[in-house]
């Protein structure tokens, strides 16, 4: 999942839809840079250098693991959101699914490694089920995705409130300790989970489904005419996204170790911010999951850097908003320069 792998891979799946739409796609280096995660990765490295300069201990295994633990929930949530955005949709149910998983884990804690595995399957099942409902509503009943997922989000929030009507409960100790810990004292488990998802995505992107996903996002009628099963692709996308939200809920629960029926709400808008920061086009068909993960990591790191610079936490949002606008303007500019050449 190095930079080179994503930038060179970024051009391949998007070639099909853009070729279908407007002839051969321009192949400028700058243009390809924005397709992958180059821009946002550079920003992240820059920010991390600043962080390490302020806090010499930032390069400790402990500090890295702590940062990874903070990053993982938003990164996984943004990864799921990316899938839906690539298919030219919006998924608001993200907040509901994460809250629901968190509450279930806090009210029904399952101890031990076996319990943790079961909990993970439970989260995947919850996310997958909500995703299936979303997919059915959007792909088969043709509801507008933002409206349909708004409804499922409200329903999931309601179910979460029924299960646990106020913050409380305890997530099982095994999940809270092991999923936030380090393997062999060095590799953060939360980072591994995110890396596994990114690795899986790099494989999936090469499959027929991956190509179809980019194709329906870029130009749905063209994709349908070239034999893509639009409905099934869209359905699978929502289910996959839901399962990623489930994982995000699991990692969030591991990090907070307690239940809160509204725990997913702050991640709703931030997931869109991470996707946009990663350069994924909100009108579908362009971008990638890895870039969104780095976008999420950047938003999280920004909070840490601001905190260690002594900026009042009141103004975190000011910087997040400005970085978001600047990144989107800049990546749009690069794309336009690239397309002109």
């Amino acid at each position: 999942m190095s930079d080179i792998a994503t930038t060179s891979g970024g051009a391949a799946p998007s070639a099909a839809p853009s070729a279908a739409r407007s002839g051969p796609a321009p192949r400028h280096r700058l243009w390809r840079l924005t397709q992958g995660a180059g821009l946002i990765l550079g920003l992240y490295v820059l920010l991390y250098a600043l962080y390490a300069y302020q806090q010499p201990r930032a390069l400790d295994a402990y500090a890295i693991a702590a940062l990874m633990n903070n990053t993982a929930p938003l990164a996984l949530a943004a990864a799921g959101q990316t899938l839906v955005v690539l298919s030219r949709g919006f998924d608001l149910s993200i907040a509901g699914v994460i809250s629901l998983c968190n509450v279930v884990l806090a009210v029904y804690p399952l101890e031990g490694p076996g319990g943790a595995l079961l909990s993970m399957l439970l989260c995947l099942a919850i996310g997958g089920a909500v995703g299936a409902v979303n997919g059915w509503l959007v792909a088969y009943l043709r509801l507008q995705s933002i409206a349909a997922t708004l409804a499922t989000m409200i329903i999931c929030q309601g179910i979460a409130l029924v299960i646990l009507n106020a913050p409380g409960g305890y997530v099982s100790e095994w999940i809270a300790d092991e999923l936030t810990g380090r393997l062999w004292g060095a590799v953060p488990v939360s980072g591994l989970a995110v890396a596994a998802v990114v690795g899986l995505w790099l494989l999936v992107r090469r499959t027929d489904y991956g190509v179809a996903l980019y194709a329906i996002g870029a130009d749905e009628p063209a994709a349908a005419l070239s034999g893509v099963n639009v409905r099934r692709t869209r359905f699978i996308t929502f289910v996959g996204a839901g399962m990623l939200y489930g994982l995000a809920g699991l990692m969030l629960s591991a990090q907070t170790a307690t239940g809160n029926p509204n725990s997913g709400t702050p991640l709703l808008l931030l997931s869109f911010a991470a996707v946009a920061l990663g350069g994924t086009s909100l009108s579908g068909g362009r971008g990638g999951l890895f870039a969104s993960v780095v976008g999420a990591a950047t938003l999280t790191l920004l909070q840490k850097v601001l905190f260690s610079s002594g900026v009042s936490s009141f103004y975190t949002g000011l910087f997040q908003g400005v970085v978001l606008i600047v990144a989107v303007v800049f990546s749009g500019l690069l794309t336009r320069i690239g397309e002109r050449k």
């Binding site: 043709r142 507008q144 409206a147 409804a151 989000m153 409200i154 299960i163 009507n165 869109f272 000011l318």
Partner: protein
């Protein structure tokens, strides 16, 4: 809200001339606006069976007063959606309006007559900044208004140091708590607002331009519409109306909080969508949106009057949004429309 008639949809007849499906479309819009209105009345009357205290005239007044915030907010949201955008900064701007009103103006400041317009001007500036980013920097509306929302909230947090002070201006209190012509003042205001809003959106040249731009920007440009100005206008109006809703909220609850706008974001979108507008722009009427807003408020008050626990109430609300979306699907009305012919 029974005053909805078929006039606004006859407007759509002219905008969509040339579309061979226009007869089906008109009937779809008329029917969905009427369906929402009938559903509102049926719910209010039907509520009597649940509890004798419901369905009375005083309950209608309560619904209209509580619904007035959402109507004002979703007027702006509806205009933005009409041009193919989305305004996520409404809650932040509403909070801005409320907090500036309590901080700058206070209870009985003799300068309120020029300070309150200044508050609305400040809100309008936020809308103008969003529009500037969207029109000139080409940032997608979703991202731009999201970023503005994060920025404004963070600035408000810093400005108030986390605890808003000050009292509601007398004018705002008079608007929300006073009586006029034997009716609560907010109800009179609501009727006036709905008439003005309807005149603006469906009867004025500005409204026509907005429909034209939402349907096809390039076509509107060629036809000589002032496209740039008309793409900026909705965001400014939306921000000013959000700021006004903030004033109303402050007048109603006699004080400002930092999260007072938060619960109105998703309802403002839901009201527009349930009212029969397309989230993609170019279609929908303000009367439909008003119906959507009143319907959501009616449901909210009835459900809270039943006395269910909060979680169950939330589930029912979500389910109702879903059912409304399913019932108001365009295809369904096209089918119904073709049956009548």
């Amino acid at each position: 809200m029974t005053a909805m008639n078929e006039n606004p949809t006859s407007q759509a007849r002219f905008q969509q001339s040339g579309d061979t499906r226009r007869s089906a479309r008109i009937s779809a819009e008329t029917v969905s606006t009427l369906a929402v209105a009938i559903l509102c009345v049926a719910l209010l009357v039907g509520a009597r069976f649940i509890s004798p205290s419901l369905g009375s005239w005083s309950q209608v007044e309560t619904v209209l007063v509580l619904g007035s915030f959402l109507v004002v907010l979703s007027f702006g949201q509806g205009l933005v959606i009409l041009t193919g955008g989305l305004d996520l900064s409404l809650p932040a701007v509403a909070t801005l309006g409320g907090i500036l009103a309590t901080n700058w103006v206070g209870a009985s400041d003799p300068g309120a007559w020029y300070l309150l317009p200044l508050v609305l001007l400040a809100c309008g500036c936020v809308g103008f900044l969003s529009a500037a980013g969207i029109v000139w920097l080409k940032v997608p509306p979703f991202i731009m208004t999201l970023a503005m929302s994060i920025i404004v909230s963070s600035l408000l947090l810093g400005y108030t140091k986390g605890t808003p002070r000050g009292a509601a201006p007398d004018a705002a209190v008079a608007l929300m708590k006073g009586h006029l012509l034997g009716l609560p003042a907010p109800v009179v205001f609501l009727v006036a607002f709905v008439v003005l809003g309807w005149l603006f959106q469906s009867r004025s040249i500005f409204g026509r331009y907005l429909y034209a731009i939402g349907t096809n920007v390039e076509a509107a440009r060629i036809a000589g519409a002032p496209v740039t100005a008309m793409r900026i206008l909705p965001y400014v109006i939306s921000a000013v109306s959000a700021g006004f809703a903030g004033l109303m909220l402050v007048g109603y609850s006699s004080g400002a909080t930092l999260r007072m706008g938060d619960s109105y974001l998703l309802p403002s979108i839901a009201a527009v969508v349930i009212g029969g507008s397309s989230i993609l722009g170019g279609r929908g009427t303000f009367l439909g949106t008003v119906g959507g807003a009143i319907l959501l408020t009616t449901l909210g008050t009835i459900i809270s009057a039943i006395g269910l626990e909060f979680g169950l109430r939330t589930i029912i609300e979500g389910a109702i949004v879903l059912v409304a979306l399913l019932l108001l699907r365009e295809e369904l009305f096209q089918k119904l429309g073709s049956l009548w012919r």
